[in-house]
């Protein structure tokens, strides 16, 4: 027999863990009055970031959707005693921008998801998400994560997983795409950054290379990725007279 931890890790949700600790019920029935001082603050505002970061102009979401997304990101990776989180990384800005490009196909899932999310917040907690306390926001997100939030097309868990996945991308991806502002995501997990030439010393145990705080595209040596739009597709597959369009990467003469 393998002494694996697969069973332990499979499908462990926040609610399960809280249940094990005997907290889930308490969290759900707790009055709005918070227990800990920082939870009394407006959502997402931590002692480390007294002023929320300045927000960029919205590119694809509606204003209400953008507000909700900011608040969800701020609970998924909170700003707390351990430092800045997804709000400071501008994860919501990354998502908003990508919804017009690489994540375009997710735009409808966001629209429908926010719609259901908003209705669920109001019917179950009596207010829009952005107006809830951090504690209530977390309890709503636990419902959505576990799939028990009602009113979603399919499971609410799919919406949660999508937002969480994209929040991680926006926090830990290259800043070129509009998130990971000031490299807060990379600093948070200790990634020492883009280095084009890594030394043997950089790979020793105990070695702590200085963070470079560079985007992959800070150097001119790479063809720029398409941050705003989708990458070009493959026109030559169609069996019809279509105009030749962009080739992938840098066109190089055929060897003939």
């Amino acid at each position: 027999m393998l002494r694996s931890m697969a069973d332990e890790t499979k499908g462990v949700s926040r609610r399960d863990l809280l249940k094990r600790a005997g907290l889930a019920g308490a969290a759900l029935t707790m009055p709005v009055t918070p227990v800990l001082p920082e939870q009394a603050r407006p959502a997402g505002v931590s002692p480390q970031s007294p002023a929320p970061p300045r927000r960029e102009p919205i590119e694809n979401l509606t204003a209400a959707e953008a507000d909700t997304l900011e608040a969800i990101c701020a609970r998924i990776i909170p700003s707390d005693a351990n430092g800045p989180g997804a709000r400071e990384a501008r994860a919501a800005h990354y998502i908003d921008r990508a919804l017009g490009g690489a994540l375009r196909e997710s735009r409808e899932a966001y629209r429908a998801g926010f719609d259901a999310f908003d209705r669920y917040c109001k019917s179950s907690r009596g207010a829009a998400f952005v107006e809830l306390s951090a504690r209530d926001q977390d309890s709503v997100l636990m419902d959505v994560e576990s799939g028990s939030a009602t009113g979603f097309t399919g499971s609410s868990a799919a919406f949660f997983n999508m937002v969480r996945t994209h929040t991680l991308q926006g926090t830990f991806g290259d800043p070129y795409y509009g998130g990971n502002a000031n490299f807060v995501g990379w600093d948070l997990i200790g990634f020492p950054g883009i280095r084009l030439n890594v030394t043997s010393e950089d790979q020793r145990l105990g070695s702590k290379p200085t963070p470079t705080h560079k985007s992959a595209y800070d150097t001119e040596m790479f063809t720029k990725a398409q941050a705003m739009k989708s990458e070009p597709s493959v026109p030559w597959l169609a069996l019809e007279k279509s105009a030749p369009s962009a080739t992938l990467g840098k066109p190089v003469a055929n060897g003939d």
Binding site: L188, L205, G206, A225
Partner: protein, 567 residues
């Protein structure tokens, strides 16, 4: 109306790992070659160290031909068919070698003789029921010279373990005899890899650095590896990863005998009433072209090789080209790559940089390198530990059941542990079976209206037992190195994979094999097939070098036997 082009000597369908190698011995021998490639040229400028683009969004595969032809999969003929969201391979001059891990292994001697060796040692009854496995038509000794050519022509770094029978315990003591050392020393180690190496020695095992088609020093004028951490699906920014696009293809072009046609989507291989191929039909920019040729070498990926043959029906081959014996698509295998082990260490392992080919291997539990007398399976697994981490995937790590997956508690866990996990890579023996095969999907079509490939396959008892063995040994290894938690990951399915074998198996018996011992069709004398599609066993290690050695051998045979093949 299709445009008929001027006839050439040989048309190669696909300029990837295999086709891109075959063009060199052909053109150097004076044969004119047209290489048709569905992708384009890409260069080091196209491979920024960008995890979002390369790993999350799968560029450039997500915008390519292969992406529109993702095979479907079902575990057996009665099961539901599903379709993966993406194709694991990419189209480009050089193919998937542009961004692969570049682990360049020779097979071990046992892999060529699974049936005879198993029968001799354990009795015929030990071949699993339903398996269609055969011995290869030749042994490692025959392929050695071609492995050698590819290792030197493209550039492979590594530590030899057996030179002409002299064993060197710094290398793989289980490898078959090689004629000389690798052209380059192995890639360097890291602190963590040193730690794992010591732990393996402490267990009495024989760890060694693995072979890679990556420069450990300047080779042929190209840079040494920079270990920058974005090699995995990211391509190389200094051209230190030795694919055919940097080596054999440009050298073939220098002869003046190779014409490279990019963005060419081959739709059929055309045959005459006498059962000989006459050339291929392809589409580019909405226009159809016919490229006549005296010989066709089919060198697309395993799934596409079978698909093109099955789609190429004619009077002489009503069930698909070279399929009058019903063998096209049979003997499909993969590698059970999914069944890995993830470990959590109580200290940072500093794996932020490096590459999947920078690591340490243990071969003690692969193939028949240990006695199977007390076991109920044959074969085994190669254990591989590497230095490969990027920030988005690091932050997405599992929490070993210790915290939720978001919020302050999760954040604290990830901050502490993002550099404390390692996931091994375990490749295992997979055998061919009667009911694991490729054919055409009856419902799902590509944008041109042609059916995509359908995979019908599942791991059997032998594969699952081998996987469990490899995971047990890997868990033991991690614990010996100080891991405080381990997790065995599921074996996964036999759906689309980067290690797909079979469909056009090589062997002397035309009743059970599509191509002969030289890689040419038993039924169509001027049609050759290249790639892991011809391999009859999977081995327990990456297929690319073997596919390249076989491609060189087939091309050399063709050049030397031109009259006989083209008569």
């Amino acid at each position: 109306m299709a445009t008929r082009l001027k006839e050439t000597d040989v048309v190669v369908v696909g300029l990837g790992a295999a086709g891109g190698v075959a063009v060199l011995p052909l053109t150097q021998a004076g044969v004119d070659v047209v290489g048709l490639e569905a992708g384009t040229w890409l260069t080091k400028k196209d491979f920024a160290p960008d995890e979002l683009r390369n790993n999350v969004r799968d560029w450039p595969m997500a915008v390519q031909k292969a992406q529109q032809e993702v095979p479907t999969h079902r575990v057996n003929a009665k099961a539901n068919t599903t379709r993966a969201g993406s194709h694991p391979m990419m189209n480009a001059v050089g193919g998937t070698t542009l961004h692969y891990w570049a682990q360049s292994w020779r097979l071990n001697p046992w892999d060529f003789k699974v049936v005879s060796e198993t029968t001799k040692k354990y009795g015929a009854s030990r071949i699993p029921k339903g398996s269609t496995v055969e011995d290869w038509p030749f042994g490692l000794e025959e392929l050695e010279q071609y492995y050698d050519k590819v290792e030197y022509e493209l550039g492979v770094s590594g530590q030899a373990g057996n030179i002409k029978g002299t064993i060197d315990s710094k290398g793989n003591i289980f490898e078959g005899a090689r004629n000389r050392a690798y052209p380059m020393p192995p890639l360097r180690s890291t602190g963590f890899i040193d730690l794992m190496t010591s732990a393996a020695r402490g267990l009495g095992w024989h760890p060694f650095p693995g072979p890679a088609a990556i420069n450990s020093r300047t080779y042929q004028g190209r840079s040494a590896c920079m270990y920058h951490g974005f090699c995995n699906k990211g391509g190389c920014h200094v051209d230190a990863k030795n694919g055919p696009h940097l080596t054999t293809i440009p050298r073939a072009q220098e002869t003046g005998r190779l014409k490279v046609v990019t963005r060419a989507h081959v739709t059929s291989i055309d045959a005459d009433a006498n059962g000989r191929v006459t050339g291929v039909t392809y589409v580019t920019d909405g226009q159809e072209f016919i490229q006549p040729a005296k010989v066709v070498l089919l060198a697309s990926y395993t799934y596409e090789n079978s698909r093109i043959l099955l789609l190429s029906k004619s009077k002489a081959f009503p069930n698909g080209l070279s399929n009058n014996h019903g063998q096209v698509g049979r003997h499909y295998m993969s590698h059970a790559q999914g069944g890995s082990v993830t470990a959590l260490f109580p200290f940072n392992i500093n794996a932020w940089y490096g590459l999947p080919a920078q690591g340490v291997a243990v071969d003690n539990f692969a193939d028949d390198n240990f006695d199977h007398g007390a076991h109920d399976y044959i074969g085994g697994g190669n254990l591989w530990v590497m230095s490969d981490r990027r920030p988005i995937s690091a932050a997405g790590m599992g929490t070993f059941g210790r915290t939720p997956s978001w919020g302050s508690e999760w954040k604290a866990f990830v901050m502490k542990n993002a550099d404390r996990t390692n996931t091994s890579y375990l490749q295992k023996t997979t055998l061919p079976y009667e009911d694991n095969f490729l054919d055409l999907d009856p419902a799902v079509k590509d944008p041109l209206g042609f059916p995509v490939c359908r995979i019908t396959a599942d791991y059997k008892d032998n594969e699952r037992r081998v996987s469990a063995l490899a995971q047990e040994r890997m868990t033991e290894w991690y614990k010996a190195a100080g891991a405080i938690a381990t997790q065995a990951n599921p074996i996964g399915t036999m759906g689309p994979t980067t290690h797909a074998y079979g469909g056009t198996r090589m062997g002397r018996n035309p009743e059970t094999n599509v191509v002969n011992e030289w890689g040419f069709s038993h039924e169509v004398p001027n049609l050759g097939v290249l790639g892991a599609a011809v391999m009859g066993t999977s081995g327990a290690r990456n297929p690319t070098l073997t596919a390249q050695a076989l491609a060189w051998r087939t091309a050399e045979y063709l050049a030397k036997n031109w009259r006989a093949v083209t008569l």
